[in-house]
């Protein structure tokens, strides 16, 4: 969808139009959810819901175009994801530690299995590299926006992205796919 249409949808949503909001949600929710899967693991769904509730609450006061909205949305998502991760680590003391294993065959067969696998591999990176790869490469935000979201300098974002990609290239599962 062109950016101008999305900006229109944003304006409509800010005026209280449910259809405009639905457009925004359909456009961005998958990205938010995938980013949060990398960031917060199993709690991604909760974190994504929290993110959108926050957006609903503050949308009226948001000032900017659609690009600005994307940056704002992922900044909120990051904070909610970190919150969820903290909650996760607090409950981990009692619960069994979550195992970061590759998805089983049944999941692989399901729709979106490749996506799930890819996200799992990216989530295996060090946190800063995983986030940088997700926002910069997978979601496609520019360096400045990514730097703003991660609270880093643009140079640091570039380095983290590069190191992340390099590390992914060395990943055994990717090396096996190399010849495919």
């Amino acid at each position: 969808m062109p950016d101008t249409d999305l900006t229109d949808a944003l304006r409509a949503a800010q005026q209280g139009d449910a259809a405009g909001f639905a457009t925004l949600w359909r456009t961005h929710h998958p990205s938010v959810l995938r980013y949060l899967r990398v960031l917060a693991g199993d709690h991604a769904e909760d974190a994504a819901s929290e993110t959108w509730l926050h957006v609903i609450r503050d949308l009226q006061h948001f000032d900017g175009d659609h690009d600005g909205f994307r940056g704002w949305l992922f900044r909120i998502a990051r904070h909610r994801g970190i919150d969820e991760k903290r909650r996760q680590s607090r409950t981990r003391e009692t619960a069994t530690p979550p195992t970061r294993t590759a998805p089983d065959a049944a999941t692989q067969a399901a729709e979106g299995a490749a996506t799930t696998w890819a996200l799992t591999v990216i989530a295996g990176l060090p946190a800063d590299q995983a986030e940088a790869v997700m926002l910069r490469i997978v979601i496609g935000l520019d360096v400045a926006t990514t730097a703003g979201i991660l609270g880093k300098k643009p140079g640091a974002v570039r380095i983290a992205t590069m190191r992340g990609l390099r590390r992914l290239a060395l990943h055994p599962q990717i090396r096996t796919r190399e010849g495919v």
Binding site: W25, R26, P30, Q60, G112, L119, A169, T176
Partner: protein, 295 residues
């Protein structure tokens, strides 16, 4: 091995062109697959929650609109309440100022106002229009005769007009506005005929009153007493009612006025007024009453 080459190339490229990001479009097929998979179109699973979230959006909008309306209502109430309160406060302030100017505040407050705003013409307690509460507070309440007498003096042409309240009482005591003149005349006559009864109760109340007038008019026993009845505060008040003694000496039907200005404490305009009014009782009384009323 190839990955290592890519790494080295990337490092080299970065050193040469820090702005370009060559790895963003990797030529590594496995990596490209991975990124494509991560970027794949949304699955129906991922979009399952749309209805819930849109419902949440609508609900929030509705409640926000409600609270917005409530805020508007509050603002409207404020818009009415603030001017009303301000107006009321102004009214109270103005009333107090007028009361202070005419000397109708309670004793203590009047004294205070006088010390603060004497430059603005706020009189000391007792020098303004005599009020009923002030004599009643310090000691036994003087008889109606005395109070009415002071009213009569104020009504008949004292320096300040009679306050509305006192005027009402006076007219009530006289039995009507029209009878005030006659009532006052009768009162003066009876007071000068039997001057003593009003004096005793109030004399002890004011310590400063007796000494001052005593040397001035030793032959007149009434003189110190009468002013004291209406001036309970030890200020320079005694001379304010000196008109009385004069008529006590001559119980005629010219009961007022001539003696008053002689005490020199009163403002000049007062003196003039009384001198002009001295020839007759009826004429000055009505005249000054008319003059005093509209104020």
């Amino acid at each position: 091995m190839r990955a290592l080459h890519a790494l080295l190339r990337a490092l080299r490229t970065r050193r040469k062109h820090p702005e370009t990001d060559p790895i963003a479009t990797p030529d590594h097929p496995g990596l490209a697959d991975l990124l494509d998979a991560a970027r794949a179109p949304a699955t129906p699973e991922e979009l399952a929650g749309e209805h819930e979230m849109v419902a949440a959006f609508v609900a929030h909008r509705r409640s926000a609109a409600r609270s917005e309306r409530r805020r508007h209502a509050k603002a409207r109430i404020r818009a009415v309440l603030v001017p009303a309160t301000t107006g009321l406060a102004l009214l109270i302030l103005t009333g107090t100022a007028v009361a202070a100017r005419t000397g109708n505040l309670p004793q203590g407050a009047q004294q205070h106002a006088h010390s603060l705003f004497s430059a603005l013409g706020v009189p000391a307690p007792g020098t303004g229009t005599p009020t009923t509460p002030s004599p009643s507070r310090p000691g036994p309440r003087p008889s109606l005769d005395v109070t009415a007498l002071t009213w009569c003096q104020a009504w008949g042409g004292a320096d300040r007009p009679l306050s509305r309240e006192d005027r009402r009482r006076l007219s009530k005591a006289a039995g009507g506005e029209k009878h005030i003149g006659k009532y006052c005349r009768d009162l003066h006559r009876s007071a000068s005929a039997s001057p003593s009864p009003s004096a005793p109760p109030s004399t002890p109340v004011t310590p400063s009153a007796p000494p001052t007038p005593a040397p001035l008019g030793p032959s007149d026993p009434v003189q110190p007493g009468l002013p004291a009845t209406s001036e309970p505060v030890p200020t320079a008040t005694p001379p304010s009612k000196p008109g009385r003694p004069t008529h006590t000496g001559k119980p005629t039907d010219v009961p007022r006025g001539t003696g008053k200005p002689s005490k020199s404490r009163e403002p000049k305009k007062n003196t003039d007024k009384h001198n002009a009014g001295s020839p007759g009782v009826a004429a000055p009384t009505t005249d000054s009453a008319e003059r005093g009323q509209p104020e």
